[in-house]
């Protein structure tokens, strides 16, 4: 076996044989004797008072075992659901979230009762018979209105709808006063549904006799669920086992605890028999957390030679009806708006707003796609304003390879990078110069071709305990593992990360094979069961599994190897320091024939005659606390043609050159990029959650919510560079979110480039055919001339003059909540779109805020 080559090798996934046979075990595939089924009765209103619940008819229905409402759970579920301080410690208004509504519902889909019956169908039937009287209340849907004085509240007893308002930095005096040009834009991040193909599923078994609870659920981090749910149910961790077996995707939506995570085990306990709940897709879209849901007002100041000097960013984040457990993490967008560029100054402020929508929480990238998108849009808008090629602006401002470690404007230290290197390679692969020539020729024929560049950096690998413990309420994000070597030399590894598509069983086995020098096939990787492995695990999200979890495995394996070396020395009657490890053997220096195999040493570790001061056994636990985050990066380029007759976008070319440091399995890395890029393209072109002004979800099924199919995805051209991270011994970074982080900006930049002859400077997402068609016909109809933004009605927010007038002031730092609809927030001029309106361009009237909940219905 070519032991030394496992790291970096394209090893086919060992997960796949069971999955391609249909032999995977997802939670709904499991069953228990006498298992009952639970159905949740949900509020059809976004905001309402519950005046009466009549469950008599439901109780009498066939097969029904119980109907429970909030009062039934009072004795068995204590406290409110957790809210991590995350990046916003200074919370203002944080409503307590209980798993089930008692008197007031605050988003459509909130649980108000549960029905437990002998079969799925009986539970669903009986749920229809639960009669709930509601008194509808005003729904808070518009962010701008929500934070004005006198606004209705998302919950009746709140003082206001302001979840937080935090300014990270506010000084941009110098950079903006030195500026020759200031551009300004409002940029929307529509709400998205993470849409893991496996919805959430939970099965709970309570053993009254010994007080043990077992919970099977589809989760990205079973240990956290055990901590939160066990705490609320008063069951110690030693008696609360959480198992997440095969999990059909997460994308961030299976990190935080959900109401059902409490209600299902509580029902099992009340009922005294096992209970299972399987979410439908409709419930998933309605009641599983959404991602994004943000508006950014951004100003960028620079010189006409392309030097970027300063930026001001304000993020308005739609928290939904409650602050998601990790919802405030999305504010990290405000710590990275400068991306890989050198700015003198950046001011940023985040404002969390409560509304009557389902809460937002991390969705693939969580805050980082938003920061890349806003920065890369602003770079292009700035480049267009000064008439310089957007590639040249990027080159002029990049942090250079010899400037690492580089501390950004918010004190975060980038570990390593070669930003221009990935961009140059991407330009070469995309044939950038040639495309520009083709574009010029095509424009003469009236065709709309465009090319967009998006360079990205990412903070990931959460995380250093010093940074993450305060952000999670005291529990640092590190990672644990347990490496066990059995007497005959086979190896089991338990990791606190969780794999739901990422292929950890393969990647981690590659890592262990190289570290211990044992055959890959002799190593098994286990995860997802809190009864196995170390006391605590931290789960998988934030592209952390390899950089933190993999490092933990490496450390544990190294401990094992070191002990084995000492045992080998003893067996070989040599001094410790004279025995070396070489490809699965321990040999005496200078006497290569004096050697022991790893398996021989493993056997001896459980026998007799070990060194006097040594315990028996060959296993080790390690917790790895990284000294810093890791910072992958890359450059994506997209080329499009927009059909002026239909507004449809054809993706002509998509090139991605990414750098995640050392690669363990290139096949898996590419797969992660494919999926991530698809999700970013989908945000750019297709997906959006639409609620109406009453808070009714208009995109509640896969009929209405446009998930891309195989027909919509372009060919992808991928390449990579390798800049190892100095943060960890493996030199690895993260790649799970990279594709999503980079791709939306590449697509939108390409579309804006294509439509620039019509005077369009910015388009919000999704750039759907109807939205683009409106823009094209409106502009063509008005005969807007090429490139002269100043002549367009209304004055674009990208106008240098408009924004320069504000230079020196600190719009990003000053509270602007007192305005009325006649005095909109900075950047929202024109077209009373409110905070969810489209600021920088002239939107068609119906478009003034559909996707994110102005008082108009969306174009679903």
């Amino acid at each position: 076996m070519a032991i030394s080559t496992m790291i970096g090798a394209k090893i086919h996934r060992r997960e796949d044989p069971r999955l391609v046979r249909g032999s995977g075990r997802y939670v709904d595939d499991l069953s228990l004797t006498n298992c009952a089924y639970l159905q949740v009765v949900r509020s059809p209103f976004a905001h309402a008072r519950i005046t009466h619940i009549d469950s008599d008819a439901a109780r009498r229905a066939a097969g029904v075992l119980a109907v429970y409402t909030a009062q039934d759970f009072v004795e068995v579920i204590s406290g409110a659901m957790p809210v991590a301080p995350a990046f916003v410690a200074e919370k203002k208004t944080v409503p307590d979230r209980r798993p089930i509504a008692a008197e007031e519902t605050s988003y459509q889909g909130e649980p108000v009762a549960v029905v437990v019956a002998a079969t799925r169908y009986q539970a669903a039937d009986a749920a229809q018979l639960v009669s709930v009287d509601y008194e509808p209340l005003p729904a808070v849907m518009d962010l701008e209105a929500a934070i004005q004085e006198g606004s209705p509240k998302a919950h009746l007893d709140l003082p206001d709808n302001l979840a937080w308002d935090l300014t990270y930095a506010d000084d941009t005096q110098r950079s903006f006063s030195e500026a020759e040009v200031v551009v300004k834009q409002r940029i929307l991040q529509q709400r998205l549904v993470p849409m893991a193909m496996e919805p959430r599923v939970i099965m709970a078994e309570w053993r009254q006799a010994d007080g043990n609870m077992t919970l099977w659920l589809s989760s990205q981090n079973p240990h956290f669920i055990r901590l939160f749910v066990g705490g609320a149910l008063g069951i110690p961790e030693s008696r609360f086992r959480v198992i997440s077996p095969d999990v059909g995707g997460g994308f961030g939506s299976k990190i935080s605890p959900y109401p059902e995570d409490y209600l299902v085990p509580a029902a099992a306990r009340l009922l005294g028999q096992p209970v299972k709940w399987t979410e439908t897709r409709t419930e998933n879209i309605q009641a599983t957390t959404h991602g994004r849901g943000q508006v950014f007002d951004v100003e960028l100041a620079g010189r006409r030679d392309g030097t970027m000097l300063g930026m001001r960013v304000t993020q308005y984040l739609d928290c939904g009806a409650y602050v998601g457990t990790f919802g405030a993490f999305q504010a990290c967008a405000c710590l990275l708006p400068g991306q890989g560029y050198k700015f003198q100054q950046i001011a940023s402020r985040t404002v969390g707003v409560l509304t009557n929508r389902v809460p937002t929480d991390p969705y693939r990238g969580a805050g980082r796609p938003e920061s890349t998108h806003l920065c890369e849009r602003m770079v292009d808008i700035f480049a267009a304003e000064i008439g310089v090629d957007p590639v040249e602006v990027r080159r002029k401002n990049f942090i250079q390879p010899d400037e690492f470690p580089y501390t950004n404007n918010f004190g975060l230290t980038y570990d390593s990078g070669n930003y221009e290197g990935t961009l140059n390679r991407a330009l070469e692969l995309a044939g950038y110069e040639r495309f520009r020539q083709e574009q010029e020729a095509a424009r003469k024929e009236g065709r709309l071709l465009g090319i967009g560049v998006s360079t990205w950096i990412e903070i990931c690998g959460f995380g250093p305990s010093a940074a993450t413990a305060p952000a999670t309420g005291g529990l640092a994000l590190t990672e644990s593992s347990h490496v066990r070597v059995f007497p005959t030399g086979s190896v089991s590894v338990y990791t606190g990360t969780h794999s739901h598509g990422q292929g950890h069983e393969t990647t981690f086995a590659q890592l262990v094979a190289d570290t211990l020098g044992v055959p890959y096939d002799s190593i098994d990787i286990h995860h997802g069961d809190t009864a196995e492995g170390p006391a605590f695990g931290y789960g998988t999200y934030g592209s952390r599994s390899l950089a933190v979890g993999g490092m933990s495995i490496l450390k544990a394996a190294q401990k094992v190897r070191e002990k084995a070396r000492k045992i080998a020395a003893h067996m070989l009657e040599a001094a410790d320091e004279d025995v070396i490890f070489d490809q699965g053997h321990f040999a005496v220096k200078g006497s290569p024939d004096k050697r022991k195999t790893f398996a021989e040493v493993a056997f001896a570790a459980y026998g007799m005659g070990l060194p006097e001061d040594m315990e028996l056994g060959l296993e080790a636990v390690a917790y790895f606390d990284p000294p810093n985050f890791v910072w992958p990066f890359g450059a994506h380029i997209c080329a499009v043609e927009v059909d002026p007759a239909t507004g449809s976008v054809e993706l002509l070319k998509y090139v991605a050159v990414d750098d995640c440091g050392t690669v363990i399995n290139p096949m898996i890395v590419e797969g992660q990029l494919h999926g991530g890029i698809a999700q970013g393209i989908a945000q750019a072109l297709f997906e959006e959650v639409v609620y109406d002004s009453e808070g009714t979800l208009k995109t509640g099924t896969l009929l209405d919510y446009s998930l891309p199919t195989i027909a919509e995805m372009p060919k992808l051209t991928l390449d990579s560079t390798v800049t190892p991270s100095p943060t960890n011994e493996l030199g690895v970074k993260g790649i799970g979110e990279a594709g999503t982080i980079a791709s939306s900006a590449a697509v939108i930049n390409a579309i804006c480039d294509a439509l620039s002859p019509l005077g369009l400077k910015h388009i919000d997402m999704p750039a759907s055919p109807d939205r683009l068609w409106q823009q094209i016909t409106e502009r063509q109809g008005k005969g807007v001339s090429s490139g002269d933004g100043a002549t367009q009605p209304p004055a674009p927010a990208t106008s240098g003059e408009l924004a320069t007038g504000a230079a020196g002031g600190s719009t990003a730092a000053e509270p602007q909540h007192g305005g009325t609809s006649e005095a909109p927030l900075p950047g929202s001029e024109g077209e009373g779109g409110g905070l969810w309106g489209t600021g920088g361009e002239a939107p068609p009237p119906h478009e003034a805020g559909p996707q994110l909940g102005n008082n108009q219905e969306g174009n679903s």
Partner: protein, 168 residues
């Protein structure tokens, strides 16, 4: 009022008494324990529940179990050879990294099997048309296309070498 149905599933005769409204996918999963067929939506969009009914790909969430009366069904569990050897499409999904979380995979493989049965050498556009009734959230579909192309080559190679075995 239950109805007695008799179906052939993966070559085995199965009989059961079912409610007329029982969805075929629930019959397969809950009554027969064939949990490889998954449920990813409730509006027939996602295709995770794709199986073969008399050799044709169908979404088993869109049929009642009683509609399968007298028909021959094949699920993902019935695709590999009796000796356990993977079907070339299963093998190709493995070889080409055509799956990540694996939840949509059985549906894709069954849809691809029908596609290749109908069109042993599909173009990329044919593959896209043939599989656009199935949704995947992990792969961006890139390696699913590759997997079907690889399977097509393997199967046509096998068919040429052994003409009797043709026909997917």
């Amino acid at each position: 009022m239950k109805h007695r149905i008799a179906v052939t599933v993966n070559g085995k005769e199965r009989e059961a008494e079912v409610e007329p409204r029982l969805l075929l996918v629930h019959f397969l999963r809950d009554n027969l324990g064939l949990t490889g067929t998954h449920i990813g939506c409730d509006t027939s969009q996602c295709g995770a529940c794709t199986i073969h009914l008399d050799g044709k790909a169908v979404k088993s969430c869109t049929l009642f179990a009683v509609q399968a009366q007298g028909h021959e069904l094949k699920t993902i569990e019935g695709l590999a050879a009796p000796d356990g050897e993977l079907h070339p499409i299963q093998q190709a999904f493995w070889d080409e990294h055509g799956l990540q979380c694996g939840y949509c995979t059985p549906g894709f493989i069954m849809a691809a099997a029908y596609l290749l049965d109908q069109n042993p050498s599909p173009s990329e556009d044919d593959i896209k048309k043939g599989l656009e009734g199935n949704l995947c959230r992990c792969t961006g579909y890139v390696n699913i296309i590759k997997a079907v192309q690889t399977a097509s080559r393997t199967m046509s190679g096998a068919a040429q070498a052994q003409p009797a075995a043709s026909g997917a």
